[in-house]
Symmetry: C2
Subunit: 516 residues, 2 copies
């Protein structure tokens, strides 16, 4: 089979994949079904694409190019291309093997990741692979192979220094902006820490979203190297560089079903660390309801797995478990979090939990990097924060990344529409529901609207009195503020214990307070 | 969140699913990622759709409707619709549960199938479900629940007769056109057999494709009932009626990875039988290389599973295992197969294997239906075939379905381009490779070109001499005939044993003959 089709360009993306559209009749003629593969050829260039079908939009003799294919085969509309049948990629056999519970070897895993990178696997096939890894698990060899394949799927930062430090948090805790404190502390001590962070997917802000309030974070590899050369550090958005590229493609599939197969999680995290050239990595594993790891036992096993895999990749791994049931810090949302960080760097004693956690972690990194003796890292970190070296370093980083180093906390713009929520009854804060807090902040506009978010005035365990301010919701538009209030009114964001607990009655339902 | 967007219609199908496109910026504003769900509202009408993203094709403030959504929300382009966020369907929790190895109850399975029918699950989610069923398996209760859910997902034929007979072949054997012989035989004996068949997906012809050479097969439910009322039987295309609708949606996902989880296969087949009202079902399980079931032990277990499930659904099931390693009959391709059937009905002694298998199966159905005594069905079937009652009944069926009842075998149009392949060396036919034969016939144009296909002059075990005609390839265009020849030249379709087998040598490679 070799047929010519006239190109019709469709200015729509097909989600990263190479997809072409054929008329149903033509497809039948060629014995092609939806999701089959064909090779599209134009002279020397060729690309393998998945087939989609149309009844009328694409006429007989035409071929519709989605944007991805248009970019790869640059051709005028109306020109002709040839189609050739292709066999199914061998990767599909390997996926089937994994489904059947047979461990894959390095070559097989490489082949699958290659196909992922070439965008030649359909979502159905990639989902089957990820579901299989979720259900069947990965053994140690498979995990190493997968990690290496992911590392090789993208570029690597080549920074000519040693040691190179890095840290990672397993995620799930809002307001957890330790990175923006510990990076300047660690760098101020003379250690190298080229930090790439993510933007938020489901939370009100990722580290990259908050840092972006202070300086550009979409740095390419060249720029990152420059910044790190000047300052020993950076706080950049990982999505702007092509590190561990296969991981991003898998996350798209893992996200809708929250599939975090152990081996894939390990591979995904450590591949990114290896790709920046890290030699020492600190991993923060928050434990508890609302975070990804529910029990300390699970956390311990995960820590062990990280250390095993890290050793095999030539990295020293240090893991800590931290309480994961409450927001860290009082600010939630990009600008509010950035402002909180700058306040702390300027010496204000706010968000003590956040300061404490950041100092512990910075201290461990200082010890791992060999500039502090065992047990003395935290003290050194505290000195660096308190004597202004951390602030000085943060200013250098902001400047090197292209921001204004003289920005003061009060210069940071917060959403001008706000709503205060007051305590209606005396009690003690029993629980702050992360997910509801996230939803309110996101409905208020975070992370897209930098100034949107929530400022909490109390934390878990605090005693509160009627009339005290519990939180303020900020938004950049009145409409979004109202929408956020609607969420607050409908759901329970904060629960109070009654002060008089001994006053039992037959009423056994938990008493839920709503505020505002 | 409640926002208005201007509708832009996109004349492209999104594979059955409700998909809308938003501009990336708008989506970020709304905290929506690709594959998230939204409710699209226009006055009273609303539909839940999956989100796709565009950078420029859909501008800010616009919403792109793929055809599926355009059909459900009929609105002029340029009009405005509202968007509302929706929570993830609860079905996703159940899919996650199945992934985690927890058996699902009837309500949970119903909910998943409901979501499938509403087109509210993405391919990723549905694939995860099917992969989970493949890996985890289904227990008896789950299989029954799934079968019932599939039955309820479509309509059911209500034919007011008893018993109602049906047969099913697990598939995989080309040229296996027993249905077109046994249906007229069984109906001529006074039994009711409303047969719905599939079109080909990967083979050169399905029963519906072959029958369509003789009469229309795209009959709706009303027409099927009319035809059955008149003739006791029909041979219709299952795709034209809405029986067991959820099954078709799952097949799309199962097809690319050939995922036939046992429970799903059972549910898929018996749901369709129950939906036509069958009381007695004969299931043909071909065993061997090239068919879906490899060993007799597997076939036995499968037969047991069919009988168990059938009993629970109130149907009597009879299973037979048949050899599945060779094409049945000499003709492959819609018109060639239809001509072979008509020859047999007109009394010619061709394709003796096909006649034999059809008579055995028809005989069993006559016994199951209570019109023949045990052990006497085959004889009765043979009489019905030989005395012309089967031909008479077939003419009635052809007429009732809207075809020409007076069609003769020689009236059936075969592709006018043909290529004869001759034997080049004496020997015995050792193997006929189903898959290669299928590929040749499909490349020649089958099933789309009704006249395309292959006629084989020998079968496995036959002694052949140099110069004898082995097969003829037919096509409706010269180009396709040449393409088919190319496949024949490249691949091994038929293998010969050397006649002098005792003449051993150190050459241990199997000797492969190619012809032509």
């Amino acid at each position: 089979m070799k047929y010519e089709f006239k190109v019709k360009k469709i200015d729509v993306e097909s989600g990263g994949k190479n997809v072409i559209i054929l008329n149903k009749e033509d497809a039948e003629d060629l014995n092609l079904s939806a999701m089959d593969r064909v090779r599209v050829k134009d002279g020397g260039k060729s690309v393998i694409a998945l087939v989609d079908l149309a009844e009328s939009y694409v006429k007989r003799g035409e071929i519709g190019f989605f944007e991805e294919v248009s970019k790869k085969i640059k051709i005028k509309k109306g020109s002709k291309v040839k189609l050739e049948p292709v066999d199914k990629p061998v990767a599909i056999e390997y996926i089937k093997k994994k489904m059947d519970g047979i461990a894959l070897n390095e070559d097989e895993i490489n082949e699958i990741i290659n196909e992922v990178m070439k965008e030649e696997l359909s979502d159905v096939e990639l989902t089957a692979f990820i579901t299989s890894m979720y259900i069947r698990g990965l053994n140690n060899n498979e995990t190493i192979s997968l990690t290496k394949a992911i590392i090789n799927s993208g570029s690597t930062l080549k920074i000519n220094k040693k040691p190179i430090l890095d840290k990672h948090c397993i995620g799930g805790v809002p307001g957890n902006r330790t990175t923006m404190l510990l990076v300047p502390i660690v760098a101020a001590a003379g250690l190298t820490i080229p930090k790439t962070s993510s933007r938020s997917i489901t939370s009100p802000a990722g580290t990259a979203d908050s840092m972006e309030v202070l300086a550009p974070v979409s740095l390419d590899e060249k720029k990152i190297k420059q910044v790190v050369k000047k300052t020993n550090a950076c706080i950049a958005w990982g999505g702007a560089v092509n590190l561990a590229a296969a991981d991003d493609k898998m996350i798209k599939i893992r996200h809708p079903l929250k599939m975090d197969p152990r081996g894939v999680l390990l591979a995904s995290i450590l591949a990114k660390k290896k790709a920046v050239g890290a030699t020492h990595v600190l991993i923060d594993i928050p434990v508890g309801i609302g975070s990804k790891v529910l029990t300390y036992r699970d956390a311990e096993q995960l820590a062990k797995d990280f250390m095993d895999l890290g050793t095999k990749l030539g990295m020293e791994i240090h893991c800590i478990t931290t309480p994961g049931y409450d927001p860290i810090g009082f600010a939630i949302g990009p600008a509010l979090e950035a402002r909180e960080i700058m306040r702390i760097l300027y010496g204000e004693k706010v968000s003590l939990d956040l300061i404490d956690k950041s100092l512990v972690m910075a201290g461990l990194l200082l010890e791992m990097g060999g500039v502090a003796k065992e047990g003395e890292g935290r003290k050194m970190a505290q000195e660096i924060l308190e004597d202004g070296r951390a602030l000085k370093k943060m200013k250098e980083i902001i400047k090197a990344q292209g921001g204004n180093p003289n920005i003061k906390p009060e210069d940071i713009k917060i959403g001008k529409f706000k709503l205060d929520i007051f305590i209606r009854e005396e009690g003690r804060i029993h629980l702050i529901h992360d997910k509801v807090i996230s939803e309110i902040a996101r409905t208020a506009g975070a992370p897209k609207d930098k100034g949107a978010g929530i400022y909490m005035y109390f934390e878990k365990g605090d005693k509160v009195k009627k009339g005290q301010k519990l939180m303020t919701i900020y938004a950049e538009s009145k409409r979004k503020l109202e929408a956020a209030k609607e969420v607050f009114d409908k759901k329970v964001a904060v629960e109070l214990d009654k002060v008089i607990l001994e006053n039992f009655s037959t009423e056994t339902k938990p008493i839920v307070y709503d505020f505002g």
